[in-house]
Subunit: 299 residues, 4 copies
């Protein structure tokens, strides 16, 4: 989920309400706050706490609430986890600390040290393009023996990695393996993954929910149709400008065009300017009826 | 400067005193706290503040005190800068926010936005191996027009970059261009750079101070002798294990062997084990008299 | 297909016969010579020509024969293409020239210049981990307008890229989009790709042929079973040693263990030593009956 | 040295004569053919041989002639080395084979295997940005024990690496350690390196020769002046367009502007268009008199 902002340290409170209402209405099965799309690490710790508290009150237990606690500092991650627990989150999500790359032994020790400090169950967040370090398979195997580690979100972008993790995690029933990039949701679920954390679900929640459902029950023609639609959304909304932050910018801009929330972005990023906004607007105009048709036709 | 720790959130206070006394006795012209070697981003914000305060009191104005304020969050960097000012630091040092890479326009805007919020002069910290983003020359040229930006520490490891920056920054007298890796101190200063921020100066402060002095006055035979010595230190102390954190580990372990401070390291790293420690000890034993001789002979 | 070698410039002729007989018996629909697994660029031009000639005679038109012609030199690639045509190959396969990375405009021009020189239809070979340059979507769109470019083998390892290419190439019926890593064959075909070029098909050709067939007709339970088997092969055979050449070494060693061909490798690589060979042997012993069972059960 | 071309497989013979005359007149102490700037790997093997033969006749023993023999194929590199020996070259230069990265054990074995096949002494060519693999220090130490390996050209761009290699190679007198990027020539020689292989010496040979001489005898003021001039050349001539091939394009275009040779480039590159050519022309116009002045003043 995005973090609707009025400025760099002020939540867009009514936008937050609208976005949460919108995605819950779309049928999503959980909310992940303060991930990459949520600009988690760009926000002050105070605002991160406020976001979890407000979201928790708004969601009111209807779906599980996951809160990102990744930080370069171990102690600050623990502080965030405690705040998340107090605020009513259901689990925390942690990637290797951004900053200097640690080796796999250090990464496992890092997890060993932090697990007893966390008041909530933990999802691993595999994000090597940004953290430089992946959870290699030996660490994943170790994690399967930790009752408090309950799943992983894999945003590596590599389905070879995802497939390998799926094979080894199969031994622990209920361990949730989720895929990050929504362009990979169809295949991840078709071959046995448990779901996805889709940035696009901020805009078109029902599209990804139904794609997931179709893949779950093996309805291939519907999977293909909705997957093509998801590819279309990514192509038109996420690839404007050449910036690595194009996904977040595209999503926030689209939400603003739809009147759902402000598109202010925390530094080091900024919202799209007028030319990009116009492109998003016309993309939305073209895509919205097609998404509606795809959802109907395929049903 | 390293951050002496007793455990992940406790300063080694007497170690800190000894290290500061040691490096000041060695003649260093400034102290840089909370950089990469100082494990800055791994520490809690509380401890970072405590370190600046205590160091400031110990240094008591004898040399300028620079404090790293890099954080993934703009607001937290500003909070740190304010704390640094209150604690008596003389300048702050800032690299691009670790996390998602921004483009150069965003990087310049980030600096434009943060400058008015900073109560102290700013050094740029170029660290692309860790932050993924470098200050490209157009941003450096822009920075030269900002009176509050007073210099750069370049830890890119690229002397081509350093040479290019030196050529463009020459127009602003007093703008300090410092090099990160001490293996490059000799050449940086010989060709017109203004100094270095040397991890090894925690251990052998006089070696780097005299190498700097020799380069400054163009005493090539002495530069070559002391530079070889500095290469020797790096080879023996910084390359144990294959970890990207080998420099910090080596420095902290050496300081511990010398009785200067504890070698505890904040997560995600850990201190060297016994076998590595023994290698550091015997390296120190071999190097210490050679450093002493080199300093005498060359003088 | 691997290139069976007796030494660095001598084909293992009887090994070549056995391997070709083996994979054709397994039902493969084509042979790709001189790709990465075929050590194409490591061989002398003379030997590359000999391999195509002998393979062409052995295949005798039963399946299409594709020959890799990638070289750092444009002229040498054209020379190879001519030799391939004379030797009876059906198409040539070309990645961007290894060496200095060119930009997309240069890459398109490179293709524009080479197309009229090639006597055979062309498959693009997308291999950015080795060539540093990918065929970006604009070049793919341009390629769709070239009648002589008939498909692409994508070894990027990125299913996001593969999915994007599939969406844009859909407009040209018959344009073949093949995936490189066999760990991705299932999902590539389930969502509309046209097949794979599987290193493992040298060892277990029927496994990948049947996995392809199952995916083609949407038989999800069988796809999942055979895909798991394929993941198992990759895990046990391709990940011995930490070398980037582990796949080729594993495949050649397995073929040697099975008595199909010599496992000599051209420089800069060398065959596995005894310990690795023993691991491959016991992996084969465990996997062979399981592959047989999976093929039967699933049928 | 560049390879003057009339088209992709035709030498610009009179251009070659003029360039060789020009650089020899400038006082260079050797010629390196078929390196990166010489587009070595982009040319047909036939043309590479022709270039060595013609150059050898033109140089007529006045300076040593080094020929690049890097190829993805071991056998083809040996073929090139034999042709180079017959054509009268004095040494060959070899980087790790472009294509799949090998590990250090494989790299050393590769050298062990190729050394007895080479009829000429060998320079190692360290080029990790393009070959993905560096000669690590253990391989360098091994190389020092091979009488037929007589030096290294380091184009890594890392002075930390260069400094480390210099320290370990010091034990073998006469082993030549040369730096690739000319922006690093001054520091490389000031601290004990043996010279550089400067692309810019195609245009302004005397500038780099005199910079080398000044560094050799420790004339720091002159070094600084000429080094600044060399930085200026790089800034104005090598950074037009954003292409990784900008250096070669800039050099060839400048040579063409000066009437020395054609600026045709082998695929995958192409010569600069008119706008870039005009920028090179006006840069040359500005720089030429300054180079002349710097050479005079400093003398």
């Amino acid at each position: 989920m995005v973090t609707p902002l009025k400025d760099r340290d002020t939540l867009d409170v009514s936008g937050l309400e609208r976005v949460i209402r919108h995605v819950l209405a779309g049928g999503v099965q959980g909310l992940f706050l303060l991930g990459t799309t949520g600009e988690g690490t760009s926000l002050s710790h105070r605002l991160r706490r406020e976001l979890i508290e407000r979201s928790s009150r708004l969601v009111a237990g209807r779906v599980p609430l996951l809160a990102g606690i990744t930080d370069t500092s171990f102690v600050e991650s623990v502080n965030l986890a405690r705040a998340a627990a107090e605020a009513g989150a259901d689990a925390v999500v942690l990637s290797p600390p951004y900053s200097m790359p640690e080796d796999q032994v250090e990464l496992r020790e890092y997890l060993e040290h932090i697990l007893p400090e966390l008041p909530l169950p933990l999802f691993l967040y595999n994000l090597p393009p940004l953290t430089k370090v992946a959870f290699e398979l030996d660490v994943v195997r170790w994690a399967l023996d930790q009752p408090r580690i309950v799943g992983m979100k894999d945003s590596s972008g590599s389905m070879i990695y995802f497939n390998r993790v799926r094979e080894v995690t199969r031994v622990r029933a209920g361990w949730a393996l989720l895929v990050g990039p929504e362009e990979l949701l169809a295949e991840a679920v078709l071959l046995g993954g448990h779901g996805g954390v889709c940035a696009g679900a901020n805009i078109f929640p029902r599209l990804y929910v139904e794609l997931y459902d179709a893949a779950e029950r093996g309805d291939l023609p519907r999977v293909r149709a909705l997957h093509s639609m998801a590819m279309r959304v990514a192509e038109e909304i996420y690839r404007i400008g050449s910036h690595s932050s194009a996904v977040i910018k595209g999503v926030k801009c689209a939400l603003s065009c739809l009147g759902l929330c402000d598109d202010f972005m925390a530094e080091p990023f900024h919202r799209f300017g007028e030319p990009e906004r116009r492109r998003i607007q016309s993309a939305l105009k073209a895509i919205q009826p097609e998404v509606a048709t795809a959802l109907k036709t395929a049903a």
